[in-house]
């Protein structure tokens, strides 16, 4: 096969959901594509692949990033968190549990991107106002819920007593559901 530009492979090491990963992939791929196609983490979604919908949001070094706009080769050494990394073992995080209880996930397609974005907000600000939540999520489109139950879920997670379960894996807001 001719050595076409696209076919050249790249190789990087990065941390994904707390695990060291070494991955070889076609150099043109975005972080979104590498997560979904090369690492098998299909929890992260895509709605446009143009940076317009927020469905592909993941945390890179704790910051929400649109993974469809980021070339994977730029992520060498990065610490990436996807929706698959929010729960600890079988227990949902408080944020996930609140989303489940409050109806914040209808079709669930926007949910992974919104969860990680809200997670980053809560790590930055433990008790955000509704306006701050709306602002933080304004780049994440949801076509099902009308957003209100999403706001309520974030507020619910923020309200949950932060010291009750103790921080999991050093992340203040990755606490798990009581009793789970």
């Amino acid at each position: 096969m001719s050595p076409r530009r696209d076919a050249r492979k790249a190789r990087i090491a990065l941390t994904v959901n707390g695990e060291e990963r070494d991955v070889v992939f076609a150099g043109y791929k975005t972080l979104l594509e590498v997560l979904r196609e090369d690492l098998g983490l299909t929890g992260t979604k895509h709605g446009c692949e143009l940076g317009e919908c927020g469905a592909c949001a993941v945390l890179v070094d704790g910051q929400p990033v649109l993974s469809c706009l980021l070339l994977a080769v730029e992520c060498a050494g990065a610490d990436v968190t996807t929706v698959e990394g929010l729960a600890r073992g079988p227990a949902l995080s408080l944020l996930q549990a609140a989303f489940a209880d409050k109806g914040a996930a209808q079709c669930g397609y926007c949910t992974p991107g919104i969860l990680v974005t809200a997670q980053a907000l809560l790590e930055r600000k433990a008790h955000p106002t509704r306006a701050e939540i709306a602002e933080a999520l304004s780049g994440n489109l949801c076509r099902c819920t009308g957003y209100l139950q999403i706001f309520e879920a974030v507020e619910e997670a923020a309200r949950a007593e932060p010291h009750a379960q103790g921080p999991a894996a050093g992340r203040p807001h990755v606490r798990t559901e009581a009793g789970a």
Binding site: G43, A87, G103, Q106, C107, G108, A134, S138, L148, Q149
Partner: protein
Amino acid sequence: MKVVGQARRRVDARAKVTGQTRFADDVVLPRMLYGKLLRSAHPHALIVEIAASAARAAPGVHLVLTGADFPTAYGIMPVSQDEHALCRGKVRYVGDPVAAVIAASEREAADALALIRVTYEPLATIASPEEALRTAEPRIQDYGEGPNLHRLAHFAFGDVEPALAGADQVFEDVFFYQGSTHLSLEQHATVAALDADGRLTLWSSTQTPHYLHRELARALDMPAHHIRVIATPNGGGFGGKSDPFNHEIVAAKAALVTGRPVKITLTREEVFYAHRGRHPVLMRLKTGVRQDGTIVAMDLETLLDGGAYGSYGPASTLYTGQLQTVTYHVPRYRFRACRAFTNKPPCGPKRGHGTPQPRFAQEVQLDKIAVALGRDPADLRLQQLAPANSVTANWLTIGSMGLKPCIERVVQGSAWRERRGQLPFGRGLGMACSSYLCGAGLPIYWNEMPHSGVQLQLDRSGRVTVFCGATEIGQGSDDVLAAIIAEVLGLETTDIKLVTGDTDLTPVDLGSYSSRVTLMMGNAAIQAAERAKAILSASAGQKLGLPAERVAFADRRVFDVENPSAGMAFQEAVVAAEVEHGTLGTTGSYRPPRSAARYRGGGVGPSVAYSYTAAVVEVEVDPATGWVRVSKVWIGHDIGRVINPVLARGQVEGGVYMGLGEALMEEQAFRRLPPRLSSALVHKIPSMLEYKSPTALEMPEVVTYFIEDPDPSGPFGAKEVGQGPLLPIAPAVANAVFDAVGVRVDQVPITPDLVLAALGAKAKGKSGRVGPEAFPAVPWPEALVVPPPWEGGNGKAINEPAKSRDALPTHHSGTAGVKV
């Protein structure tokens, strides 16, 4: 009740918050190939030649398909079989697929697409229904009820002319409701593969696996029982995944030819072109009223921009008028509708299917009537509600009717009586009401089989598995199914194992459309569960020494209703029944009763029950910029019975959100390129950034009131909630804008430039109204005359044409895959 009505975490919530829900594009199979469609850059052209040899020879390419590979036409409706998976001989809109490349990677497929040379011979294009009415040639489709007119309908439910002549006042308005698209966050995706037995399996983001199953059998000329369709959970549907789509049939064909799994995922731009969304509709509405505003007759004309193909168009056309009679009593009604073909992506069903447009017209006009007659718009509505348990002028049978309490709740909640007309300039309140189906009374293709089927299987482990063809599109159908079974058998929803939306494994459910699932699937589920309960009651009763009637089910136990401590675990009851009967299973099914409407076209509109909604919207209008901000919404919905309050409220809020998008900003708009660039009609804004939809920042507070007056035909009395709450929003916004700044915008979206234009006109002493000026002349056919019940009618037309059913050529009858 222990389950129904209780707030619960939905059964699929855990999968959704952990990223484990497997949507269609998440399906990955070994040896999978990827497909891409080449789409027409011309809005209307003959295909002279397709040169694909370079693409066939390109790296990684396994297969190139063209229209020659798809000889058989298909389409969702029997009367509109006008689609081919890839165009044959002609393209009809920019985006119409002409060829497909199947390659080892998406990238290689896309590269090879660029090597295909298509020679076109451009044809004149039609951009609007008005143009279609004027243009006999060239024809976009070679069928229809007029040149470039797909469907023409004319109904006279009583003679409106003398009634209008005798009215104290007649109000006449022309309205326009712009088209919009579903914008589901998930792009359509499909994976086709041959299973180990050589049969075809298709995983797809479809709301209607059963109809897709039938159309695949037709388009591929294969027996349906050799095809399995699995509806993956949809990442939003809203009607946009209800047609059989080109890419689904192409992927299936490619899997059959290559013997390898094939995936096709549409890009966002392609989703805009696949469309099937809200029809743009121009409407002329004439209403005669008595001096107190009571309607004596209504005369409605609608003109739909259908796009290039039939899709659900014949139904959409009739929905632009048929439900106008179920909110207020309309003694006489004339309804004329026309759907034109244009060189644009086909329109189809979007949440509310054909009814938000005329509802906008009716509800805005009622507001004008109230203002003109000095009446409170709430009172004007309350004085003439359609009665419960009545039959309308067009022979729709109304059962429960809770619009009155809906209006009363929103009036109270919004302090309507104190605040409407009293707020400072720039702030205003508007009201509107609506109604929607709880499932279409007839299936898409004529048959007398059930609309929904449920099977239950129980075994000695205590396992209860329910099988149903219903499709989870985010609305919560899985949770409703589990809740109903759990309620009857005294279990928790988490005890129920669900198998849904799989044509190999589950009994047919017609699909997630027309707000039919809760009612139809729910009734089928109750029947199956009651049958299981009867078996278990008898066996458990024997063990307990009790007659079956005394055996009750709750808290995972089966016990003596008069002495609850005497009983056994649910699982022991299953064991007892399995000892007595052997393997345990039951079935349930549901088919709605026959409608009273017996005239041609009367299949659209009837439903076993109607939901009702009233909304008050508060707006702030900035007179300097024309910007409309919605600050709060109060909405009352007659739901019959709430199955899960968390989900029901989510449906209301989601409907309000989508209605606000249509009211204020959403537009599936097109523009003609300058002639030097081809005169193509292209989508103005096929991206999520430019197609404006409300974000988290625009969403107002919503106060929801549920009216629970159980309808005898619904499961535990439940009616729909998925579509109805969208319907009153746009007219309520328009009416609120009038209350705020005194101008009428008789079209949606109500954009700042329209508000400014109306304010500017008013400042110059003109009417302060913007909107369409005229309704074109349409060659209406002779009226089908159907006397209303109170004029001695029997539900039939008195001049029914002899050959009434399907005047158009139909290839449909018999079962899927059987050629006729």
